[in-house]
């Protein structure tokens, strides 16, 4: 089954049509999504700023990374669930939205990021605490994570602004208009 036909199938589901038809479903799930971003995304932000040595410097990296980890995971699950509901309820719209795919690409890069730095940074905090200066790879991991997450938030916000492909006759830059 191709992705397009899957999206079409998803659109036809009863729950998706119910969600799309409900006035309250979308904003409530969106607000929950945003609240999770604020609370648990904020924790991700603070963890990365700690690795950069900008915040919570009197606390050990192990405490900051280790203690917040289960909450960040829990928050991520909630965040992704809400996001999947939002996208799933309007699959057709999201499928044609380049910002949605930008966001998905950035999220995929974040998975790669976590796999790359997992052993040397995020599961290696005891060694980071012993080091006199924060190793470059930890700072690199933190900076990349911050850039990617801010990219995810930006792309996510821009999803709502996309209004579909510009008709060729109206488009200012013909190269930018992609036929669906």
């Amino acid at each position: 089954m191709s992705l397009a036909s899957f999206v079409h199938w998803l659109e036809q589901r009863d729950w998706a049509m119910d969600f799309a038809g409900s006035a309250y479903f979308y904003p409530i799930v969106l607000a929950t999504h945003l609240t999770c971003i604020a609370i648990f995304g904020g924790m991700i932000l603070i963890t990365n700023l700690r690795l950069l040595g900008w915040v919570l410097r009197s606390e050990s990296v192990s405490d900051v990374v280790g203690r917040l980890r289960p909450w960040k995971w829990g928050g991520l699950v909630l965040m992704v669930t809400c996001g999947a509901l939002l996208a799933g309820s309007e699959a057709g719209k999201y499928y044609g939205n380049p910002y949605f795919w930008t966001k998905m690409t950035l999220l995929a890069l974040l998975i790669v990021h976590s796999l790359v730095f997992r052993r040397s940074v995020y599961r290696n905090t005891a060694e980071l605490d012993r080091a006199e200066v924060m190793p470059g790879r930890a700072k690199l991991a933190a900076a990349l994570s911050l850039i990617l997450w801010i990219g995810v938030v930006t792309a996510g916000r821009m999803i709502g602004y996309y209004e579909g492909p510009v008709p060729l006759a109206d488009s200012v830059t013909p190269a930018g208009a992609s036929p669906r």
Binding site: L30, A31, A38, I46, L56, V64, I150
Partner: protein, 177 residues
């Protein structure tokens, strides 16, 4: 844009707001044209993203301390110690949020002024800020890890979450004009 049907039935804003809007309209209309924010398509979304990053900074730092008050998260530290390291970031985030928020508001004051979700948001925001810098501050510095502290932490989270919910609903309720 989706408009919830419940609110849609109230086609006109309350008389109190109608009068004020009438008085304000010419001035606001002039401002809409002059406001440089409205001459760029990108200005609003960029400000919105800064707004989101700002409240992520402040709410993330607030949540870490609130979680500690609830006995969760960074339990090795005292709430007061965490707050000493984080309060400046909370404040910085709030400054970014309020500053970008005012700019966003200026793009279409009438729409916001008459928007019930916006009014709800502002009431919650003021309550949250006052609560944050009075009752919660005392509890955090007093180190009282008890039921009262937990209640304060829950109330703090609830108030801030309400601000976000109000903010999201601005785009989903009938603007009233």
């Amino acid at each position: 844009m989706r408009v919830p049907s419940l609110w849609q039935t109230r086609s006109r804003p309350p008389a109190r707001l109608r009068v004020k809007a009438a008085l304000r309209a010419p001035y606001v209309t002039g401002m809409l044209i002059q406001n440089p924010l409205n001459s760029s398509e990108l200005a609003f979304p960029v400000l919105e993203c800064l707004h989101i990053v700002g409240f992520t900074i402040s709410l993330g730092t607030i949540a870490i301390v609130d979680f500690r008050l609830l006995g969760l998260g960074m339990r090795h530290q005292k709430a007061a110690d965490l707050n000493r390291d984080l309060w400046l970031w909370t404040l910085a985030g709030l400054v970014i949020v309020v500053f970008t928020g005012l700019l966003l508001y200026s793009s279409d004051p009438d729409m916001y002024y008459l928007n019930i979700a916006f009014l709800f948001k502002i009431v919650c925001l003021l309550a949250a800020i006052i609560f944050h810098y009075t009752i919660r501050r005392k509890v955090v510095s007093s180190e009282a890890s008890n039921g009262y502290g937990k209640m304060v932490a829950c109330l703090s989270m609830a108030l801030w979450a309400s601000v976000i919910f109000g903010g999201i609903f601005i785009g989903f309720v009938n603007p009233g004009l």
